[in-house]
Amino acid sequence: MGIRKYAVIGALALAGVSMLGLSAKAEDVKLTVWSLDRDIQPAPHLVADFNELNNGIQIEYRQIQFDDVVSEAMRAYSTGQAPDIIAIDNPEHALFSSRGAFLDLTDMISKSTVIKPENYFPGPLKSVEWDGKYYGVPKATNTIALYYNKDMFKAKGLDPNKPPQTWDELVEDARKLTDPAANVYGLAFSAKANEEGTFQFLPWAQMGGGSYQDINSEGAVKALTVWKTIMDEKLASPDTLTRGQWDSTGTFNSGNAAMAISGPWELDRMSQEAKFDWGVTLLPVPQEGAERSSAMGDFNWAIFASTKHPEEAFKALEYFASQDDKMFKNYGQLPARSDIAIPATGQALKDAGLQVFLEQLKYAKPRGPHPEWPKISKAIQDAIQAALTGQSSPKDALDQAAEKIKAVLG
């Protein structure tokens, strides 16, 4: 599989490049696409395939680094060098659309036979919206759920088919599963002081009835109190405060944590590394029957308002969307679409996990959308860290965050 796959990919890429070089006619419309996708991820392949169609539109692809996406795009736009199409992280989308930097696609989408709003999950779709209009198309999506080690559940006398459903059950199970002598923590998650911390905490606040505009509501305070209980009782490693999701879940894979909160991007690695029976379940809720919620990650496509070829650029987006059904099989990413049935991969654990994530996606909510999201997110991160290090109580910390967010929202 491995070598052949790469050979095919290589041939495709080469074909794409040579098509671009040989067949680019003078009358071809040239578009540029920027995204952070590397050669094993969708964008460069979508571009190469699109160029092969030879439909009078040729796309030039440029890869940008994750940390540079926003600043590069801003600089390019303010100096009139923006690309036609860009892939942008969903919480940053509103920053651009609110300033008119992205093209309003509402009319084109309403006429399109390929891109239909009703085919998308509500969360990702909301992230491209601003002021009731569509300023982009979701590229892919992800969310978080609870992974758990079934072997450890059995060993501690818990039912491996009854993972925790509520916050109380989660804490209770974590207490039973924590085993300092064997270097096992009950739970692994991330409360890091960056976007990852917000990404992990906000779903909890939302399940408790809070939101970023209402971050000090009773339910959100309870959520942070549960987090604090988990940290104070050492049911999760103190390094949770400084560790990202990828590293935290690594400790789950190596058998040093019995449960982990993370996303579908872990499925491939876990299938290879985890030498035990594992499962995935929906994020536990405050009490039985409570509203579900989850985080929503990944990128959106958008067209810059400065493009000279809006029609052609939208055509490219239509082509990209038409390939959504192959995204999970080829690149392990989830399309943001509710109308696509993802075929089974044949790996039982991975397929079962995927079904849970697809269910969880229905409850995924975007962060924002708000043009000053990074500042809102920072206020939430500060609150999480202040409470978990014991420097203020969960209530005080979230009150302070609410105040900072109020100042941003104006």
Binding site: D67, V70, S71, M74, R75, Y77, S78, T79, L95, R99, A101, N183, K192, A193, N194, S237, P238, D239, T240, L241, T242, R243, T251, N256, P374, K375, K378, D382, Q385, A386, L388, T389, Q391
Partner: protein, 330 residues
């Protein structure tokens, strides 16, 4: 300007370029005077000075001024491309000092700078004295120590990240095995330790550089001074206090001020080990400036912190220039 080019250029190198018969000679009047001034006179000095000055102004001066300008403006991502942005006076400074985290972060920076320099200098000086004894293989071993200085900060950070890790870190393992601690210390995640975790890594990173510079300083002390002192009956401690330290004064001044500059530049280790956390307990101005500018896109505040840092670096530069001044004269 006391230096003249014929003081340090071999006679004739410049002249030959304009040997008799070359076109320059046939130009008369003011042009001729200008060329002859450039050839041998004040003009030549000015040209020599103008190039580096121009370079410095373009590459360091303009960005510096731009940074100061930004700290008095309202800047967002969409006005990044222009110079003329709304002027807000000292608003950025006032807002910055109104934030509750500002003073703790400035305090952290002071602890980080003093802790790092003290650690780097003391261990570096110890090692330099040790290798000065010149046992067999000393210079070879001293070279090996430089490996830490050659490594990129991010790599050093990643390695220390593992070493300092709470559950499975090597440092905790060693401290536990030797009985110094009984429970794991969460170096990166405990607000009481996180800043010191980065200081430890930074001391390791900078010690070799200190050692090399101090070794050079030690080697330049004339040996006969010690011989004379020994004949006069001075013991090792007296020789150290009355000869080594005074003779090293300018080297030490240079190292401490260079150390201040390097420590204030240290960014990679924070990014790799603690990200300034938890709860800003290991945040320092240089990391905070980056976080404000490139994570929260608040470029004006980022610039404001940079301006405050410039003041400190200026201070270090003055010390550095003063301590190395008489080296140039000598």
């Amino acid at each position: 300007m006391a230096l003249r080019h014929h003081h340090f250029l071999p006679e004739g190198v410049v002249f030959r370029a304009n040997a008799p018969g070359s076109p320059v000679r046939s130009i008369g009047g003011p042009m001729k005077r200008l060329f002859s001034s450039i050839r041998d006179g004040n003009g030549f000095d000015i040209v020599l000075v103008a190039f580096p000055l121009g370079f410095l102004f373009l590459m360091a001066g303009l960005p510096l001024l731009y940074n100061i300008l930004m700290s008095f403006q309202e800047v967002d991502m969409f006005s990044l491309g222009t110079f003329l942005r709304p002027f807000v006076g000292f608003k950025n400074y006032q807002e910055l000092f109104a934030q509750p985290e500002t003073w703790p972060i400035l305090g952290n920076t002071a602890i980080f700078v003093i802790g790092s320099i003290a650690g780097q200098f003391l261990i570096g000086f110890g090692l330099a004295l040790f290798f000065w004894v010149n046992f067999p293989g000393a210079s070879w071993l001293r070279g090996l120590f430089l490996v830490s200085w050659v490594m990129p900060g991010l790599v050093v950070g990643a390695i220390w990240n593992w070493i300092l890790s709470g559950d499975f870190g090597v440092l905790n393992f060693m401290l536990k095995e030797t009985g110094i601690i009984s429970g794991n210390i969460f170096w990166r995640s405990d607000p009481n330790y996180s800043l010191y975790a980065v200081i430890i890594a930074n001391v390791w990173l900078g010690t070799a550089f200190n050692m090399i510079l101090l070794s050079v300083g030690l080697a330049s002390i004339p040996g006969d001074l010690y011989e004379a002192a020994e004949l006069d009956g001075a013991n090792a401690w007296q020789r150290f206090w009355t000869i080594t330290l005074p003779m090293m004064r300018s080297t030490i001044g240079a190292i401490v001020s260079l150390g201040l500059i390097f420590t204030l530049q240290q960014f990679d280790l924070f990014a790799a080990i603690t990200s300034g956390g938890p709860n800003n307990s290991s945040n320092v101005t240089q990391y905070w400036a980056w976080d404000l500018s490139f994570r929260q896109y608040d470029f004006a505040k980022g610039a404001t912190i940079s301006v405050i840092m410039i003041v400190f670096v200026m201070f270090a530069s003055v010390v550095y220039v003063r301590s190395t001044r008489h080296e140039v004269r000598g």
